[in-house]
């Protein structure tokens, strides 16, 4: 696969999938459409060389699907069975949204995403904040791991058996670190011109390609099929 998808297409995919997961499939045809819709992001993951996660999703989804179908049809009873099937149906129901989200998050660069938002005329303030959110997830992880190491050395991972302290010991150093980093980050960003009156530009040039139009058509039809079956029949 040579051409990458436009982030706007990806957002549209999420939109459709999150709408469809809330409508349950009732006929074999609808099930087929639903499964097809789930396969698309898995295939896309493969084209982006995320083999491991694609494989994992595929296994999980298929097994949930199989368990769901076989058990439901056999009319099985029993608590454990019910529990298992309950989980499986939740997975089958919401997994497509999870896979699509995972695909989008894993394969979209922040700059692309921000640039897409600019194209869709979000104000600069929101795109800046969103870029910071994305940048801070890994920072929070880094800081948290360091804090947890420090807690291990002090032997206070369990907060001396007190849940409030458990939260406090994690949260307080984390907040101090994040506030500090934020102050320094703001200073560094402002000296590089953030917050000027001029409209920001972006080097990520977005253009809808043929693959984008294909997927948009595909997902629109999926949505239409579900809406028609649910409300007009």
């Amino acid at each position: 696969m040579t051409a990458r998808l436009d982030p706007r297409t990806k957002l549209y995919m999420i939109l459709v999938v999150s709408a469809v997961v809330m409508m349950s499939a009732t006929t074999p045809f609808l099930w087929a459409v639903r499964i097809l819709m789930t396969i698309v992001p898995i295939v896309l993951l493969i084209t982006e060389k995320h083999y491991a996660s694609a494989f994992r999703f595929l296994i999980l989804y298929t097994s949930a699907l199989v368990i769901n179908f076989t058990c439901l049809s056999e009319q099985s009873e029993g608590f454990l069975m019910a529990f298992l099937v309950g989980y499986c149906s939740i997975i089958v129901q919401f997994m497509p949204a999870m896979i699509t989200a995972w695909y989008v998050v894993r394969t979209t660069k922040i700059d692309e995403f921000v640039s897409a938002m600019q194209k869709m005329h979000f104000p600069d303030g929101i795109t800046i904040s969103l870029a910071v959110v994305m940048r801070f997830f890994p920072t929070i992880k880094e800081e948290y791991l360091a804090i947890r190491d420090a807690m291990k050395m002090r032997g206070i991972v369990l907060g001396e058996g007190n849940i409030a302290r458990m939260v406090e010991f994690r949260m307080i150093p984390l907040l101090f670190s994040c506030v500090n980093i934020g102050d320094e980050l703001s200073a560094a960003a402002i000296t590089r011109g953030l917050g000027g009156k001029v409209k920001r530009t972006s080097v990520e040039i977005l253009k809808l390609g043929i693959q984008d139009y294909l997927l948009i058509t595909l997902f629109t039809s999926v949505l239409l099929i579900f809406v028609v079956f649910k409300y007009f029949r």
Binding site: S24, V104, I126, L175
Partner: protein
């Protein structure tokens, strides 16, 4: 810089605290995989744990828009993470109302801050929207599949159309309680350390 409009620095601060709040939500969300009842207890956990960063956040910017933007960001992240868009109007509405309440107290009045945070916490209920909408048809599926009505009721007792009102109220109440706890923590640590 006593300008009333949000500056670049404020946007960065908003981003940081949104990330922190979302991490709190995510950490609590992980527990939700264990049992459906834990999912229902989000309304207690998230307002209280989240209050610590949020009360610090309230002291950091004190300009209109801080909560509105945060709610928009939360809605976007929820959407991208595949948690649907049905909750978006609720999240953003909660953000705007909370922002207005806090503004009416000039972001200084502690009573207003408490109420504002309580209102802001309503966003948590947006987590349940997809489940509620799906639940009915899903329940039918299960019943058709031969499950006892008892089990199905058990699964959805905590979360359905009727209880969402209760959950909203709980969010608000625990938001207000959380606000007091958060304020105490901010006082204990951040004011004492001279950060605020």
């Amino acid at each position: 810089m006593n300008k009333k409009r949000l500056q670049a620095k404020d946007f960065i601060t908003i981003g940081i605290f949104t990330a922190l709040l979302f991490v709190v939500e995510f950490a609590c969300g992980m527990l939700g995989f264990l049992h459906p009842y834990i999912v229902a207890s989000y309304v207690i956990m998230i307002p209280i744990v989240g209050s610590i960063p949020m009360m610090l956040f309230y002291t950091k910017i004190e300009k209109f828009g801080m909560l509105t933007i945060m709610s928009v960001l939360l809605a976007i992240i929820m959407f991208v993470m595949g948690m649907g868009y049905l909750g978006a109007p609720l999240i953003i509405l909660a953000g705007i109302v909370a922002d207005l309440i806090a503004k009416s107290g000039n972001y200084k009045s502690s009573k207003k801050t408490v109420i504002s945070y309580g209102v802001f916490c309503l966003w948590i209920c947006a987590n349940y929207f997809p489940v509620i909408v799906t639940a009915d048809s899903y329940r039918k599926d299960l019943l058709d599949g031969g499950y006892s009505a008892e089990y199905c009721d058990n699964l959805f007792r905590a979360i359905n159309y009727k209880t969402i009102g209760v959950l909203l109220v709980l969010c608000f109440v625990f938001g207000c309680i959380g606000a007091f706890i958060g304020k105490a923590v901010v006082k204990k640590h951040f004011e004492k350390a001279g950060i605020v």
